[in-house]
Subunit: 213 residues, 4 copies
């Protein structure tokens, strides 16, 4: 049995739930084909702990593909991240009270890593199912980006493909702030399509997903 | 058998589909209870024809409640409109090439009509189902507002409750523009909840849905 | 000497300054022509007091034109309001702790009043000076809209033209929230152009300023 | 006489002016101190020509600091870019009709370069002048990012500091689209402050400018 690892985050800031975990846990144990099973695990929203926890999961499950998922409050669609940068710059403290400013994720690491997933094929497939999706060129500078960078650093050169997907807030999280939201079922469906597409796509499609700025 | 009338629009501008019609036609014929049936009909996106078509439907079906639905490209949630204004001001020509600028919907009509639906109860119920929803204080100045105003004008004093709901673009419409989108299933579910809540709510809840600006 | 009355608001919510007052007070006493002087006055951000304070200013200065100005945090340009609605619905308490929900501004008043200013000529003139401007179809449901409605109600039929303009946040207010901002000098220039244009324009231009939704 | 090089772009897409060039050309020849002069030059909006043109300017003027400026239509403030990525992915053709998709800016180049300017001190100083400013973590994947990456690549290890700033649209460009805009004077003042701050700041301030996503 081959394994695909999917991670979501625990709640952070003032939230009591995190849609990234709510969505990925519904996919835990699902078979994507006869011999591919999804393992969904939770990561802490803490700079000091998230990379080690992730490393533990990589070690334990030896996945053949990894997609980390996080919340991007304010975005309106499933955004498949293209690039992780070697920078922590926290606008708010994490769940352990740490707020690193302008520190590297990995000292002496390269400035950035690109996703090794077929991101455009994924975006196109999610859209084809009637779900909003786009390529994003920034995963921020908080724990999401830290996990994304750590993931790409850990798997660089291994042949195991990996990347990061941001999802919008849930409707209940948007009540106060008025940010765009997405139904949980839609998120789950979008992530499922992303996984299947990534598994079945050897080479990404050559189609624009870029942005003028 | 009592009837609830639901209207959606034909496509306009450069679109080939209109999510408002795609969503409401899926609800056509549905029974909301033993004796309440939804009738869904299409309105033209044309200033010269939409009000008469609407009047015809009101005449034909003698509905006990009416909700007109339209597309609000750029919005991210199901927005339940509060007020229709007596103004046509078209930024683009309608489907018959008409582009009225600063003309009244109804000459000598009042400046505005409020929705007679329990809009906050509706918004709260849609949100409770995990779907983004909000009260909106402008339905624009195009055919959507014209139909909303015409509807409220036609039913003023009749005791038949009526109003307007705007829905976001579909994912396929957002490909070029990057506007927020909503899955069709989510729209349909949101509209169904809106209808049931409106039918079962005598007096609206007193809860803020306002905006500072 | 003829008088044009300009009002701005005191700070509200958690702000210590209100750009609407900062901008209009810089125009206080300015001569727009040989015989037209601007009088700028401050209004409280309080439902129970703002309309009476405004009525006092109208009584005292007998202005030949009135423009009330308020902050619309989140908007990016000078937005000239088209319509005031007969509704208070406060998302947050005002400066006296009052938070009316779904009450009329004026009991038995009409549902809405339109601005009696040449709003499109004003928008066009502000834009021609290189400053972002647009027509807006909602002034919200907080004290801004209450003042706008009260103003139009007080002057209805008097021949004195009046209306409302919303301005964006200042840069210092946008630090935390990331909302769009405008430089104070730009606001002041925009308001000055709006005043002069309104004074010199008998009939508004027929040009679209509408919105599809 | 020491030289600071400032670049702006020629118009692109359907525009007839480009605010980046309109702004920087007003700073051409300005003395920032007794011995520091600004040289402002225009770059073509063309993948095949921009890097060579830039290299020519670096060669000709031997600047001690370089800031490239570009238009980010849709953004509302002066955004100081943090990172350039090794990727061209054009959503639209450039001015020569070229539309590279998923090609590197520099074959075998590193995935990304960080700005070597004191970006947070610059943002703080611009804000202190009442002008909206923020740190941005994506310069897009069009010619702006290509120039930014080429600039950082060319100067890597040289000790010459360099970076990129995006500015909003002008009001006249926002008429059709409704994107946020900024007055030209405000842009020029913001860029001038950015230059002076960068020149006078040895080490950047440690203050958060990050984003959760």
């Amino acid at each position: 049995m081959r394994t695909v690892l999917l991670t979501g985050f625990e709640p952070f800031d003032q939230d009591t739930i995190n849609p990234s975990w709510e969505a990925v846990r519904l996919l835990d144990g699902i078979l994507l084909s006869d011999d591919v099973r999804i393992v969904a695990r939770q990561l802490p929203c803490a700079f000091a702990e998230a990379p080690a926890r992730l490393a533990g999961f990589l070690d334990e499950y030896k996945p053949e593909m990894v997609i980390a998922v996080g919340l991007a409050s304010g975005r309106a669609d499933v955004s498949v991240e293209r690039v992780a940068i070697n920078l922590n710059d926290a606008r708010i403290p994490d769940n352990l009270g740490l707020q690193p400013i302008d520190t590297p994720v990995v000292a002496q690491g390269p400035a950035a890593y690109f996703s090794t997933l077929p991101i455009k094929a994924m975006v196109r497939a999610i859209q084809a199912a009637g779900i909003g999706a786009s390529v994003s060129h920034t995963a921020g500078t908080f724990v999401c980006n830290q996990v994304f960078y750590s993931l790409q650093h850990a798997l660089a050169g291994s042949g195991v493909r990996s990347g990061f997907i941001h999802i919008p807030a849930l409707a209940q999280q948007a009540l106060e702030t008025g940010v765009p939201s997405m139904a949980l079922e839609t998120m789950v469906q979008g992530l499922r399509i992303a996984l299947i597409t990534a598994l079945n796509t050897e080479h990404d499609v050559l189609e624009t997903g870029g942005q003028v700025s």
